[in-house]
C-alpha cells in the first residue's frame, strides 16, 4: 500500500522486528516440541491442574481484545468524538489479540481440529465453552466487518457492525467468566462474580493497551504527539483511574468473602493467593504493578502526563497478565481429593509452567506484536484523523 512509503524510517525498527522474530522462534520450538512429544510430556499441567498458563494467556488475550473493542467503540459507535482517533488501531489490535488468543487456546487443546468438527455437528448448548466458541466466533466476524468498514470509510456499516461487536464482546466475555463461574466444584470461581469481574477487568486492560498503541505509534515514528492525541492520553488517564479504582474494589471484594468465616476450599485458595505460593504474584504484580502504582500515577494530576499515562498502561498490562495467571491457577490449587495428591502441602497442589509452555506464551505475545507492527506498515491506520 502506498501509505507505507510515507512512513518515516523508524529508529530501531530492525532491532524490534528481530527481537519479535526471536520470540516467535521460541514459540515455534515449543509448538514443534508439542507436536513431536505430545502434551503430556512437555506441559506441566496435570490431572489435578488441567488448565495452565496457556489457558490464562488465552484469557489475557481475549480480555485485551474485549477491552480494546469496548474502548474503541466509544468513538465509532457511541459518538464520543475524542475516541474516534483510536477506532482503526483499536479494532485491529482487538482482532489480532483475539486471533492470537485462539492460537494459544488451540495449543492447549489436545484436538483443535476435532473441535471445529464436533462443535458444529454435536453441539452442547449447556456448555459455556461451546457458547464461548460461538460467541467469540461471531465477535470476530463483527471485528473483521467493522475494521474493513472503517478502512473503506463505510460509516453506516461501521456503526452497525461496531454496535453488534460491542454487544458481542460483552456477551462473549461475560460468558468467558461463566466458563469459570459455572463450575460448582471450584469454590473460588463459582458464582456470578466472574462474568461481571471479567467485563470490568477488560475495560482496564483495553484502556491500558489503547494508551500504549497511541504512545508507541508516535514514539516509533519519531514524531511529536499532536495536541489531539495528547488530549486523548489525558482523558484515557482519567478513565483508567476510574477503571483501576473499580478493579481494586473487585479485588478487595474477592478477598473478603474468601476469608470471612473461612469457607471450605475458598479460604484455602484465597490464602494460597495472598499468603501462599501465589503471594508474590498477587502483591507485586497484580496489586502493585497492575493496580496501585498505575492508579497513583493516573489519579495524580502532576503525574498524569503523556509519559505517565503510558507507564501506567504498561504496568497495568504486565500486572493484568499475572492477574489472569493467578486467577486460573488459584482456582485449581485446592485438590478435589487432598489425601490423594503426593507432594501436596497443606492440601494445595503446585503448578509452574514448563519451558515449552513459557516458550509458546512468549511466541504468542511476540506474534501478536509482530502482526500489529506489520499492520502499521501496511494499512493506513490514521484514516480521517490524520494530523
Amino acid at each position: 500500500m502506498s501509505f507505507a512509503t510515507v512512513i518515516p524510517k523508524r529508529p530501531g525498527e530492525m532491532l524490534w522486528f528481530g527481537l519479535l522474530c526471536l520470540g516467535m522462534m521460541a514459540g515455534a520450538v515449543g509448538v514443534v516440541q508439542v507436536l513431536i512429544h505430545g502434551h503430556d510430556h512437555v506441559y506441566n499441567v496435570s490431572r489435578e491442574i488441567p488448565w495452565g498458563i496457556l489457558i490464562s494467556t488465552y484469557v489475557f488475550f481475549v480480555v485485551s481484545s474485549t477491552g480494546l473493542c469496548l474502548v474503541s467503540s466509544l468513538g465509532d459507535v457511541w459518538g464520543f468524538e475524542k475516541f474516534a482517533i483510536i477506532g482503526r488501531r483499536g479494532h485491529l489490535l482487538a482482532l489480532l489479540t483475539l486471533v492470537t488468543g485462539f492460537g494459544t487456546m488451540a495449543m492447549e487443546l489436545n484436538h483443535p481440529i476435532r473441535m471445529g468438527l464436533y462443535a458444529i455437528i454435536s453441539p452442547n448448548f449447556t456448555s459455556a465453552i461451546w457458547w464461548m466458541g460461538a460467541l467469540y466466533g461471531f465477535y470476530m466476524v463483527c471485528l473483521i466487518v467493522e475494521f474493513t468498514s472503517l478502512m473503506r470509510g463505510w460509516t453506516r456499516l461501521a456503526f452497525w457492525s461496531g454496535l453488534a461487536g460491542f454487544f458481542a464482546a460483552i456477551t462473549a466475555h461475560s460468558n468467558l467468566g461463566a466458563v469459570f463461574g459455572l463450575l460448582e466444584a471450584r469454590h473460588f470461581w463459582y458464582g456470578s462474580y466472574m462474568p461481571i469481574y471479567f467485563i470490568v477487568s477488560a475495560l482496564a486492560s483495553g484502556a491500558a493497551l489503547t494508551v500504549l498503541i497511541v504512545y508507541f505509534n508516535h514514539k516509533a515514528r519519531g514524531i511529536e504527539m499532536p495536541p489531539v492525541y495528547q488530549e486523548f492520553m489525558y482523558t484515557m488517564g482519567k478513565l483508567q483511574a476510574l477503571f483501576l479504582g473499580i478493579l481494586l474494589f473487585f479485588v478487595v471484594w474477592k478477598i473478603i468473602p474468601g476469608l470471612y468465616g473461612q469457607p471450605p476450599e475458598k479460604y484455602e485458595t484465597t490464602m494460597a493467593w495472598i499468603t501462599g505460593p501465589l503471594a508474590f504474584n498477587f502483591w507485586f504484580f497484580e496489586l502493585g504493578l497492575g493496580i496501585l502504582i498505575p492508579l497513583i500515577i493516573v489519579a495524580n494530576r502532576r503525574t498524569r502526563t503523556v509519559f505517565g499515562v503510558m507507564i501506567a498502561g504498561l504496568l497495568s498490562t504486565i500486572g493484568i497478565f499475572f492477574m489472569r495467571y493467578d486467577l486460573v491457577i488459584a482456582g485449581q490449587m485446592v485438590s478435589m481429593r487432598p489425601e490423594a495428591v503426593e507432594g501436596a502441602s497443606h492440601g494445595l497442589i503446585h503448578y509452574f509452567p514448563s519451558f515449552t509452555e513459557i516458550g509458546i506464551v512468549i511466541g504468542a505475545l511476540c506474534l501478536c506484536l509482530f502482526l500489529y507492527s506489520l499492520a502499521e506498515r501496511v494499512f493506513d491506520l490514521e484514516g480521517g484523523h490524520r494530523h
Binding site: R47, R114, N124, L182, M336, R337, A340
Partner: protein, 184 residues
C-alpha cells in the same frame, strides 16, 4: 425390557487398602502407566485416636456416575453422555481435550488418556456388564467391599443393602446425586 439403574454400594470397613481394584481396573481397561492415570483409587483417611488405640479407614472411589452430571453439562461436544442404564460414558472420537470435564468433576474422577486421545474414566466396565459379568474391581476385591447391581430391581443385592443399612454419598452438597453409596 425396562432400563437398569446401575449403582455400586461400598462397605469401607472391609477395605484393607490392597489396591487390587486399581490394578484390576488398569489391566482390564488398558489404563496407561503413570501416577496420574487411573480410573479408580483407594483414599487413605486420617488416623483416628492415639497409640496404641488407633483406627483408620480406606475409602475406595471412582466415577460416581452422577444423576446430575456436571461433566456432561460442560462438555462442549457432547463427548460425555449418560446411557440408558445411568452409566456416564465418554465417546472418544468427540473429545477435543479441553479438559473442562476434569475441572467440573468434584471427585477428580477423570484423567486425560494420551493413548486413546480422550479423557478417560470409570465406565462400570460397561463391556463386561453387557455380557453379564461384574466390573473388574468388584470381581477382584478380596474382602467384597464393592457390590454392584441394578437399583431398578428391588430384589437386587444393592437395593437390599441400601434398604437395610444407612448410607452416604460423597460431597452431597454438590448436588450431583452420585450412584456410589457408602455404607455407614
Amino acid at each position: 425390557m425396562s432400563n437398569k439403574r446401575y449403582a455400586m454400594v461400598l462397605d469401607t470397613r472391609k477395605c484393607i487398602d490392597c489396591k487390587a481394584c486399581t490394578v484390576a481396573c488398569k489391566a482390564e481397561n488398558h489404563v496407561p502407566l503413570g501416577r496420574e492415570n487411573y480410573r479408580n483409587w483407594v483414599m487413605e483417611e486420617a488416623l483416628r485416636g492415639r497409640y496404641p488405640n488407633l483406627g483408620q479407614e480406606f475409602t475406595p472411589g471412582q466415577c460416581m456416575h452422577c444423576a446430575n452430571t456436571p461433566c456432561k453439562r460442560v462438555c462442549p461436544t457432547k463427548a460425555t453422555g449418560v446411557n440408558a442404564d445411568g452409566i456416564v460414558t465418554v465417546e472418544n472420537k468427540k473429545c477435543i481435550g479441553c479438559k473442562y470435564c476434569m475441572t467440573a468433576c468434584p471427585y477428580n474422577a477423570r484423567y486425560y488418556n494420551e493413548e486413546i486421545g480422550a479423557v478417560d474414566k470409570c465406565t462400570f466396565c460397561e463391556h463386561r456388564i453387557l455380557t453379564g459379568r461384574e466390573p473388574a474391581c468388584v470381581e477382584t476385591c478380596p474382602t467384597r467391599v464393592r457390590v454392584f447391581g441394578d437399583l431398578n430391581d428391588p430384589n437386587s443385592e444393592v437395593s437390599l443393602l441400601l434398604a437395610k443399612h444407612p448410607h452416604r454419598v460423597m460431597k452431597p452438597e454438590m448436588g450431583t446425586k452420585p450412584y456410589l453409596f457408602y455404607l455407614i
